[in-house]
């Protein structure tokens, strides 16, 4: 009883004590009270981790004398109104995914932070910083670019307009009785990978079809219309390059590339490639595809193709891609994304190419390691191995089972119908499944997906750098990772670029340790103070 009283008494009296004996003496010199702050976060339909993270973070921040209003926001509303629409009221705690093109630092530095950038929802604008992040993008020399990227991170760190709290850990669980060599696609999630784990996997039994127990359907096999299934379509349509887990961009359909001018990239295709119908893949196909994409401007591809001016053939295997402006990120963001359509099947099509039903027309044909076989809506997709591919997998094909709900996926994995499940189950659930069942193995996939803490940089108190820095010091990344994400996230590094991006990350940025007392001291030094109830007040004007 006595112990219980002690346990209760400490958390209740500590803040009161601090408030009463710390700064109350100066209460008459305080400015207005810092108003209640709203924290927007993804609503529970995206998973419980967002609310949980927002709550544990706000619990610590409230020790600075702040009060918060929690505001769950549905994903699409968050994106339209807050990320893009400029509707951030005070703060947001949310994640951005580990998209493959985000292995380039431009997304983190420019797209989320430069003046006027469309996704700069934190509304921070620093012209000097913006100039730096635009310049780095144009530096074709990688050593020079890395230095510029690190400089920009230092600038961002010094100003602290927002910060990452955690990096997401994805996972996959697979049937290890039937499959081996199921490798990690880090830093991207398994559904965005190709070489890992899909092409590397090897069957251990006579069942040579790799069954992927997944949540949802793929909605199209027309790459011009793709929205959410970029990874799956790249099974069928080859891209020019691939990003590997070391952060390098390696040749794929392109044997090599070089910047002959800052706005001209010369690409040589791999020899001997064919489409699934047996026709050779040539520079004509690549040039046709790129020029068609530039002409049609498919909405789903708009962000990635915005800087493409066109392409022209040099010889049967060589062609040039023209850029509108110099763009070093082209190699890491466009080459692993841009696909090759067979000109002989598309050139004479007179309808709207973006809306073309390629399955009905029998032209779901690319040159990728898998060939389209079957699609039954909301049920199953079957791709068979294209044995002539230069890196054909060592099994007969891959099936994607669209099961629609987590219990069915779990059931498929337990019954052996499913061979692999990826991010469609909570990572903790996948880990538990593997622990409880001998035939299942689990692999963590550390990613560059990040949970960010955004502040409205155009509104007090966030216009004050001292306040922002105090909030940063009072951010418990550890609690967010452990309690918000049940351990399936790791505390993020410093600065906007995720530490998982290796060479792009500025490891020299000093680590900021979570320390409430230091945060309070910083606020006090900046003139803030607390009233008798422990509530934070602005400095007196």
């Amino acid at each position: 009883m006595k112990n219980a009283f002690r346990r209760l008494a400490l958390p209740v009296w500590l803040p009161v004590g601090i408030a009463a004996f710390g700064n109350v003496a100066a209460a008459q010199e305080l400015g207005e009270r810092v108003p209640d702050l709203q924290i927007a976060y993804y609503a529970a339909d995206m998973g419980p981790m967002y609310e949980q993270s927002a709550r544990v973070l706000s619990e610590e921040w409230s020790k600075l004398g702040l009060t918060f209003r929690m505001q769950p926001v549905q994903f699409s509303t968050f994106i339209s109104n807050i990320m893009v629409g400029g509707g951030l009221e005070d703060m947001a705690v949310f994640t951005v995914g580990a998209d493959p093109d985000r292995v380039d630092p431009t997304y983190w530095l420019h797209d989320l932070g430069a003046c006027g950038a469309r996704r700069n929802g934190a509304k921070w604008c620093d012209e000097a910083y913006s100039a730096k992040v635009r310049e780095q993008r144009e530096m074709v020399d990688q050593t020079q670019r890395i230095a510029a990227v690190k400089q920009a991170q230092q600038h961002f760190y010094d100003t602290m307009p927002w910060w990452p709290a955690t990096n997401t850990v994805y996972g996959m669980v697979w049937n290890s009785d039937k499959w081996e060599n199921v490798t990690s696609p880090a830093p991207v999630a398994a559904h965005e990978g190709l070489i890992d784990p899909w092409l590397s996997a090897k069957p251990k039994t006579d069942d040579r079809w790799f069954d992927w127990a997944h949540y949802e359907d793929v909605t199209t096999y027309n790459p011009l219309a793709e929205e959410g299934a970029v990874g799956w379509l790249r099974f069928v349509y080859d891209t020019f390059a691939k990003n590997n887990s070391k952060g390098e961009t390696i040749p794929w359909a392109a044997a090599s590339w070089e910047f002959t001018e800052p706005t001209n990239v010369k690409i040589t295709l791999r020899q001997g490639m064919t489409f699934h119908d047996g026709e050779a893949v040539t520079a004509d196909d690549a040039v046709f595809t790129i020029n068609k994409v530039v002409e049609l401007q498919p909405p789903a591809m708009s962000s990635r193709i915005a800087n493409l001016a066109g392409a022209e053939k040099v010889d049967d295997l060589t062609f040039n891609i023209k850029l509108k402006t110099p763009d070093a990120s082209f190699v890491t963001t466009v080459l692993p994304y841009a696909f090759i359509l067979p000109e002989h099947l598309w050139a004479n099509y007179e309808g709207d190419m973006v809306a073309r039903d390629v399955v009905a027309d029998g032209v779901a044909i690319g040159s990728g390691p898998f060939r389209f076989k079957t699609w039954r809506i909301n049920e199953i997709h079957e791709l068979e191995t294209f044995k002539e591919h230069f890196q054909a997998p060592g099994y007969d094909g891959v099936r994607r089972l669209a099961l629609g709900q987590a219990d069915a996926i779990r059931s498929a994995m337990l019954s052996g119908t499913g061979d692999i499940a990826t991010m469609v189950l909570p990572v903790a659930a996948m880990s538990d499944l593997a622990t409880q069942n001998n035939h299942l193995d689990f692999l963590e996939i550390p990613s560059h997906g990040s949970m960010l803490v955004w502040l409205n940089n155009q509104k007090a108190p966030f216009t004050d750098p001292a306040f922002r820095k105090a909030m940063r010091v009072a951010t418990s990344k550890e609690r967010a990772a452990v309690e918000g994400w049940l351990g399936f996230a790791v505390p993020a590094g410093e600065g906007p670029v995720p530490k998982q991006l290796g060479m792009w990350y500025n490891a020299d940025l000093p680590e900021i340790t979570f320390d409430i007392e230091a945060a309070r001291a910083a606020l006090e030094q900046a003139g803030y103070g607390w009233d008798a109830q422990g509530r934070l007040h602005y400095p007196k004007k």
Binding site: I79, T219, P299, D357, N378
Partner: protein, 321 residues
């Protein structure tokens, strides 16, 4: 009679129009943006506007509404935002999948419900059979259908392993129409079908029981009995005359069952129109969601109309005015 039919048809059209209108505006005023996923990936303003125009989401709400109604009148539900195909092409195979569990489920549920209802109604009043029958029917009727589905999955799929727990067939099996006549399909069909039967049976059982209880004391039953036929034959006479409310109830029940099947399809991962409807709403695929709701509304209205008309045919005492 003709005047009655015309009046009921006009009422039906009005109801369908009202539902369509509510659905249209509901999806437009919802704070959801079908381009959000692309915006998060950097969709430009121009590209977004082009997309919205292509999807018919630009201009005033009134203009969009008029265009939507115009298309609807010629049977054009538009194109799915996600699949980029006409909505009909997306929904047709899914409707067929749904009918595979809805129609047999409804008919078997009705037949079993009627048979058990007759037995319960014919049993001794206050006896064990009657009390058990009514108790079970009432309990099952009160249980949400997803609970029935999950219970079946737990027992027959997860624990006993007798039936598959999801989908319409094992991977790599037959495709095309022939698949519907394979053992693999029937094996997958069993659990969702049983769930629909169980969900649907109690209503029939109780209706039938009430009818039999009412009829068993009628004079004509005494007459049949006096002829010296078996108890079964006597019960059959009572049952036949108790079927009228059950038959008329089958029509709205079909529509109701299809609406209730949404949950069954989700629990069993059955690729039907109900599951697609839920996915379409969560993915903001308005044309598919609106079309699915529209079809449900039309079915319910037509079923009610059919029930009204059939009732008159079956029961000569009913007079249409």
């Amino acid at each position: 009679m003709r005047a009655y039919i015309l009046r009921r048809l006009a009422q039906s059209v009005l109801v369908i129009w009202a539902v369509t209108t509510i659905m249209f505006f509901m999806f437009r005023v919802m704070p959801a943006d079908p381009t959000a996923i692309l915006l998060e990936r950097g969709l430009s303003d121009e590209a977004r506007n082009a997309l919205l125009e292509q999807w018919g989401l630009t201009g005033s709400l009134w203009d969009q509404y008029v265009a939507y109604l115009g298309n609807l009148l010629v049977g054009d539900f538009g194109s799915s935002f996600l699949y980029r195909k006409p909505v009909w092409e997306v929904l047709t195979p899914l409707i067929i999948n749904t009918l595979w569990i809805a129609v047999p489920g409804l008919l078997l549920g009705a037949a079993l419900g009627a048979a058990i209802g007759t037995a319960v109604g014919w049993a001794r009043r206050g006896g064990k059979l009657e009390r058990t029958g009514i108790f079970l029917a009432t309990v099952i009727r009160g249980v949400p259908n997803f609970v029935i589905g999950i219970a079946l999955l737990t027992v027959f799929s997860s624990t006993l392993g007798w039936f598959p727990g999801f989908g319409m067939g094992d991977p790599g099996q037959n495709v095309g129409f022939a698949r519907y006549f394979t053992l693999d399909f029937l094996h997958h069909l069993a659990l969702p079908l049983i769930a629909v039967i169980i969900y649907f049976m109690p209503e029939n059982l109780l209706l039938m029981r009430s009818g039999v209880v009412e009829n068993r004391t009628e004079d004509y039953i005494e007459l049949v009995r006096a002829k010296g036929v078996s108890q079964g034959r006597v019960a059959w006479h009572a049952a036949r005359n108790s079927m009228l409310p059950l038959i008329t109830w089958l029509f709205p029940a079909l529509a109701e069952t299809i609406a209730g099947i949404v949950v069954i399809e989700i629990v069993f991962s059955w690729p039907g129109v109900g599951r697609e409807l839920v996915l379409a709403v969560t993915r903001q695929d308005y044309p598919v969601a609106q079309a699915a709701f529209f079809l449900l509304a039309v079915m319910i209205v037509l079923a009610n109309l059919a029930a009204d008309l059939v009732y008159g045919k079956l029961d000569p005492r009913v007079v249409y005015k």
